[in-house]
């Protein structure tokens, strides 16, 4: 009984530290000021640019599509371990983009993997625009 109380308390503490529930459009809107500041003449995010970004290997071995597949509404798998990955597109997987800490963690890791650098706010916004356009 004591152990389960400790576990529940620990889990509650961890949960309290994470972001409030969110959605992709809201997260994307949060990126707009930084995107606009970095680029004079920024005219909004583009699903078309986002799609090109998603499919490009950016000079390396992997693209986003390598693990998340050509069709973001489909489930994907890790290129080496073949671990199943749930769909990226919010239309297929409503849990996506609902936790800011999780979004930032995966952008950090996967942009390093694919681009060898952080993604810019505009790139992230375009990427989300593409994912939102896929039904």
């Amino acid at each position: 009984m004591q152990n389960r109380l400790a576990l529940a308390a620990a889990l509650a503490l961890l949960a309290a530290g994470s972001a409030h529930a969110l959605n992709a459009a809201e997260y994307q809107a949060g990126l707009a000021p930084a995107a606009s500041a970095a680029e004079p003449g920024f005219a909004g995010f583009s699903a078309q640019r986002g799609e090109a970004f998603y499919r490009s290997t950016h000079g390396g071995d992997w693209s986003c599509a390598t693990c998340h597949t050509d069709s973001p509404t489909a489930g994907g798998s890790h290129a080496v371990t073949r671990k199943a990955i749930k769909p990226l597109a919010p239309a297929a997987n409503p849990a996506r983009f609902t936790d800011a800490a999780k979004i930032e963690k995966w952008f950090k890791r996967n942009c390093n993997d694919v681009l060898k650098r952080a993604c810019t706010p505009r790139e992230e916004g375009d990427f989300i625009a593409y994912l939102l356009s896929v039904k």
């Binding site: 152990n3 389960r4 400790a6 576990l7 308390a9 620990a10 889990l11 503490l13 961890l14 530290g17 890790h78 080496v80 371990t81 073949r82 671990k83 800490a101 963690k105 950090k108 890791r109 996967n110 390093n112 993997d113």
Partner: protein, 152 residues
């Protein structure tokens, strides 16, 4: 206080593995969330503590990927791994990258080379119950014709 609670929670949810049964886990939720999103939750008992230390010290260069973690989760997971690690030489890393799949024990069990188009990191390719932590012989399905090469 929070760290102590997390540690207590992690300790409370890890029963000891039974030798010979090849069944591991269940593992703490934080370990599964962070360390089983790209691959199976590798049983901590199959690598030594120094091996896990090496892994956790290089998370941004994790076998070709960036697996970096926030400090709080990193510490909680590192502590769990240290507590659950093997203390047997056969599970010790044999090279700088500390791959579990290159310990003497692993190579003796599996040979040095995986079947074609399969990575040793993909346990579930043959260990069909690996997602449940079950590596028992009756759940193994080997690719047709593959024979592991026994180390001499």
């Amino acid at each position: 206080m929070k760290k102590t609670l997390i540690l207590l929670a992690l300790a409370a949810t890890t029963p000891p593995a039974v030798a010979g049964k090849h069944a591991y886990g269940p593992f703490p939720a934080t370990y599964v969330d962070e360390c089983a999103s790209c691959h199976v939750a590798y049983p901590p008992q199959l690598l030594t503590a120094p091996g896990w230390q090496q892994v956790m010290a290089q998370l941004d260069k994790h076998y070709g990927s960036d697996a970096s973690l926030d400090p709080k989760r990193r510490t909680a997971i590192a502590d769990f791994l240290q507590q659950s690690a093997s203390n047997r030489d056969k599970h010790a890393p044999t090279e700088a990258s500390a791959r579990m799949t290159r310990s003497h024990w692993f190579v003796r069990e599996h040979g040095p080379t995986p079947p074609a188009k399969i990575a040793f990191a993909d346990c579930a390719a043959c260990h069909t119950a690996a997602e449940r932590g079950d590596y028992s012989e009756n759940s193994i399905k080997l690719p047709a014709g593959w024979r592991r090469i026994k180390e001499k």
